[in-house]
Each structure stands twice: as structure tokens, then as C-alpha cells.
Symmetry: C2
Subunit: 337 residues, 2 copies
């Protein structure tokens, strides 16, 4: 008999943004669908927004409450935020919400962590010392064992219905990308991706498509040398030493049409926009950000705090809903394996 799945932990994110609104909308869309989550937030502020709230003393109670009320695990602090404004005064609550979610996932009271968007500048102004969510989650889970002894990330993946892309370099200036790419970086991240595809996504023999850096993947050295010096050796090592079905370097512009997408399970891209342009062009409203190589499962919607539309009731919950669905799928697979 299958063990029941623990609920998903959803963090509050920046309280001045759209997090609470899309959480309430997602709860409304998902109640009665079998999946359940709890929000870690200030229950009073959710009630003020008109949501029926169930205050939890234990995360696991979320499952029984979910059909009738939005389960909220209360933070010790009140959250007083103004929509449209990211304020450092909320920073303590924002990080506490993330810490509680991670704790719940590590001790099995949550099956996965789904994070609402945070406002980095506001957190950093209050002393938060991480470039972003991903690095913070990596630090919080640093001492936990990787399931199955797998390789540790974090590696960022964007996932949509028929496309998964992984930027091998992320939030760095484009001019620094060529220097940041090494054979080791490509091989190590590719191995994290391959293990995650197998164990979390259920792809027995993952096919990795590796993009080139330059136009036409360098055209045999005529347009740039990084393919020859870095990417070709990385692909060769992945194939020879790790028996990974890696292909490339491929011209990035011809990798993402429908027939090309059918040939691989994930596209490994050399820089942020090479990975983000195709996924957001194809699936702007329902792409999901997944962090691979953490001891816990973590997904998040693929958008920011949207301060400009917060509090107006017009935020689209599609990406959060997709993130919740994907987290539940990944958790169910981890439970079975």
C-alpha cells in the first residue's frame, strides 16, 4: 500500500508582492484535487484578504483541512506589509517562512518546498547574505544527506510541459560567461541534471542536449573557440567517463522547435537567456523553476514578486499551480523509489 504523501510547504515570499494572492487562488483551484499544501505566513493577513484559514499546529494536519480552508502554519511574528512595496521590515518573517518550510521537508512533515517570489534587495537591506533563494536553500540543507548519495547542486532547471532547460551560468554579466564556462562546470552540472532526471523525473536514460555558446555552435571554430576548447571535451567526458547520452555542442537557435525538443530530456544552456528565452517564449505562464541537487524537493513559480500588480486581484496563479503540481509529482516519485 502506498504511503500517503505529506503536504507541500509553501513559503510566503515577499508579503508586498503577489504571493498571498496567488496562494489563495491556487488553493481555490486545487482543493478537492488530491494535492494539498500549507502556507507559512501570518494567518491574520490571509483572513484580512477574505480567505477561510485553518491555523495548523502540525503541518500534517493540512491534508484534512485542505478541502475546506487554506491551511496556514503561523509564523511567530505579525506581517504588516503594504501591497506594491517591498520593505526590509518583513525580512525576518520572509526568511523564517523559508526556514520552517525547509525544516518541515527535512523531517518529512512536508513532501516538498514550493517558494513564493522574494524581493532580494529588500532582504539584503535587512542583512540577508545570499544572492538569492537557491543559495539560501543550499545553505539551509547543507548538512542533510543527499538521498541515494547523489551529487549535490544546486542546479537551476526551468521545466514546462515539453521542454526542460538548465542554464549552466545564471545571474552573471554576459561578458563574464565565456570565462565562467569550464569542462568541470559543464560536467559536474550535467551529472546533477542526469541524476535528477532519473531519480526525480523518472527518465531511465536521460538524453542531454548541450548547446553551443557561439552562433552556429562556433561553425567548427570559425566563430569562436569555446566549443572546441570547452564544450566538445565536456561532452566527450560525459559520454566516455560517465556513459551519459550527451549530444552537442548544438547550434542554440535550432534546438528548441517541436521536433528538436522531442530529441532530448533536458537542454543544457551556456547562459541565462539561452535557457530562459525558449522556455518563456513557449510557456510564459506555466513554466516552473526547479532546484536540482538539493536534499529536498524545491520548485517555484517562474516569475518575480510583481509589485506593480500586487493587491489588485489580477495576478495569474498558473505558474504557482504548475510549481505545486510538479513538486507533488516529484515527491510522489521519490516516495516510490
Amino acid at each position: 500500500m502506498a504511503r500517503p504523501l505529506a503536504p507541500l510547504a509553501l513559503t510566503m515570499g515577499e508579503p508586498g508582492g503577489v504571493g498571498a494572492e496567488i496562494a489563495i487562488k491556487a488553493w481555490n483551484a486545487l482543493r478537492g484535487q488530491g494535492l494539498s499544501f500549507f502556507l507559512i505566513d501570518d494567518p491574520l493577513r490571509l483572513e484580512a484578504m477574505g480567505a477561510p484559514v485553518a491555523r495548523l499546529s502540525s503541518p500534517l494536519d493540512a491534508v484534512s483541512h485542505f478541502p475546506s480552508a487554506l491551511p496556514v502554519l503561523p509564523l511567530p511574528q505579525r506581517v504588516e506589509a503594504r501591497f506594491g512595496e517591498a520593505a526590509p521590515r518583513s525580512a525576518e518573517a520572509v526568511t523564517a517562512s523559508i526556514e520552517k518550510a525547509v525544516d518541515a521537508a527535512l523531517c518529512g512533515e512536508a513532501s516538498a518546498v514550493v517558494t513564493n517570489p522574494i524581493h532580494k534587495a529588500a532582504l539584503q537591506a535587512a542583512g540577508f547574505d545570499f544572492p538569492g533563494h537557491t543559495e539560501y536553500l543550499a545553505a539551509l540543507t547543507e548538512k542533510a544527506r543527499m538521498p541515494g548519495g547523489r551529487r549535490r547542486g544546486p542546479v537551476m532547471m526551468l521545466a514546462a510541459t515539453d521542454l526542460r532547460t538548465v542554464p549552466l551560468t545564471v545571474h552573471i554579466p554576459l561578458r563574464d560567461v565565456p570565462m565562467a564556462l569550464t569542462v568541470d562546470v559543464i560536467v559536474e552540472k550535467a551529472l546533477v541534471v542526469a541524476e535528477a532526471l532519473t531519480w526525480d523525473f523518472g527518465v531511465a536514460a536521460p538524453r542531454l542536449a548541450i548547446a553551443g555558446l557561439n552562433p552556429h555552435a562556433g561553425e567548427g571554430g570559425a566563430i569562436g573557440s569555446e566549443e572546441r576548447d570547452v564544450i566538445v571535451p565536456a561532452v566527450a567526458r560525459l559520454r566516455a567517463e560517465h556513459a551519459i547520452d550527451a549530444t552537442g555542442p548544438l547550434p542554440a537557435d535550432t534546438m528548441f522547435h517541436a521536433a528538436a525538443r522531442a530529441r532530448y530530456d533536458a537542454a543544457l544552456c551556456m547562459y541565462h537567456d539561452q535557457a530562459l528565452i525558449p522556455i518563456k517564449t513557449l510557456a510564459f505562464f506555466d513554466a516552473v523553476n526547479v532546484t536540482l541537487g538539493l536534499p529536498i524537493i524545491r520548485t517555484s513559480p517562474d516569475h518575480g514578486t510583481a509589485l506593480d500588480i500586487a493587491g489588485k486581484g489580477i495576478a495569474d496563479p498558473s505558474s504557482l499551480i504548475a510549481a505545486l503540481h510538479l513538486a507533488a509529482d516529484l515527491a510522489a516519485r521519490r516516495l516510490r523509489s
Copy 2:
């Protein structure tokens, strides 16, 4: 009464590639549809492929022959090529075909030039001294007057049904892109694009979306400085000095979904793949390459010689057909204006 449109001139391209095959398929698809073109090639080789051929002595005769036979303006030389093999021995015929097409367009015997893909390495091995088609066409038309005294390009545009993108730098290594971008380069190319949109595409007040270079368009200087130093001043100058409706720098990853595409008439991109990834992801088989800022109209299919499938009868003519349609549309508009 409207003057009749002269036929389109179609070059042979690399004879070892798919050019002749897609030309025959395009003729079959388009006969009886009002549009007509002539191929500049060796008639014997087309007949050997089973096509009914009409040998032309004058390009203008193509119109009357088109419904019943593929009009071919004969080259003086025989073309003996093996499918799947690009050979320097064909170089003279390949360049002669391009020259004749340009001559016909300049003297009004052709309404536009549509070019089949060439094999640059094979041509260069035979002494061809240009990086590619576009530069050769620019040289061949150097002394001709720009219609309406407009700005001279060449500027490459990729056009699909609901997206037009322009790479401001093209076939250079990615590491050289930041250095190649200057305020003048962006402004000059944007002005060519704006004029072409107005005069060739019929867009009275073109809206140009200008992409950022770095992730999140630099996030206000936190991820790279080119937006602040180069792109912001270029957008400001386009607006202030030229009254162009230019917007940006925009984060490149959120510029290309359907709602975003509706907000502009062309997206100006900082490098090759930033422009080519979205267009080929959305319209792999029917995107068209257009050269803006030439005294003649020139389009081409957005793919290469496809040596690997040449002679097998499986090449897809969609992009060539789209290129012929677009060339005819642009020519009709130029005729009216």
C-alpha cells in the same frame, strides 16, 4: 491601374544542396497563385530532375510561362554537382546566378531577389572574398541609389507571421559582442529597421523593442553595465533625436511570448542567438531572412544548404515559399508607394 509586378528572381544557391529541389517544389506549390519567379540555373540539371522547364531569354517572360513550366534563365556555364557535396568548382556558377539576379532587380526585370542557401566555405575556397551572401549583395548594389534616399544597410531581419527580430551583431563570437555594441551601431541599425518597416512593411509608426544584453536586462546595473552605458543612451537618442517609438532595454527572456510580441513591430537583439532562438523556436519551418537597407528587395529561406538530405526528395520548401511570398508582398508595396 496597377502596374503588373515583375517576376521574382531566385538564385540557384549551392548546387550540391537542396536549392533545386525546393525551387521545383515551390514552383509546384505556387503555380496558378498569381506570384511568379524564375530560377537562374543550368536548365539541363533541372530537366534531369524531372521538372518541366521553360528556358527564358528575358526574365519578364517568366510570368507567362509560370503556370505551365518552371522558368529558368540559363547560366552560360554547365553546372555539374553531386548532391550532398559542396564543391568549389561550382563557385563561378553560384556567384553568376547571384549577379544576374541583382542585375535583373536593379533594372526592373525582377521585382525582388530571393536567394537559395550558399556554401560559404566552398565559395571561399574558390576565391570568393565575402563573409556571406549579405555582404556580397551589399557590394553588388553599392552604386545603386537607395529608393527614397533611405539609409543604407545591410541589416538582417528574421520575419515570421507574428514576430520580426533583428540581430544587431551577427556572425561574431559571443565574447566579442559586448565590445561590438555601441550607441552608434544600435541607433544606425534601428533607423534602417524603422525606415524599412515603414516603407517596405507598411507600418506607419514602427514600435521597436530593444533587448538588454545581460540577464534581466542588467537588473539596474547589478548584472552588467552595457545596458546603462550603451543601450539606455541609444534608446534615449532614438526617441529624442529621431522620434522613434523605441522601448528598452527589455529583459530578453520576457520579450517573446504572445502578449509581449503584440507590443512591438520588431525586436532589436544584441546578438545572433538572442534574435534567432525565439524566431526558430516559434517558426522553424517558415521564418524568412530579409535584408533591410539594400536598394533591392532581398529575402531568403532561413536555413542552410542541408547537404545531408540533398537529393533525397525530402527537403521542406516551406521557408523558401514563405520567402517568395514575403518578397512579393514587399515588392508590391514598393511599387505602390
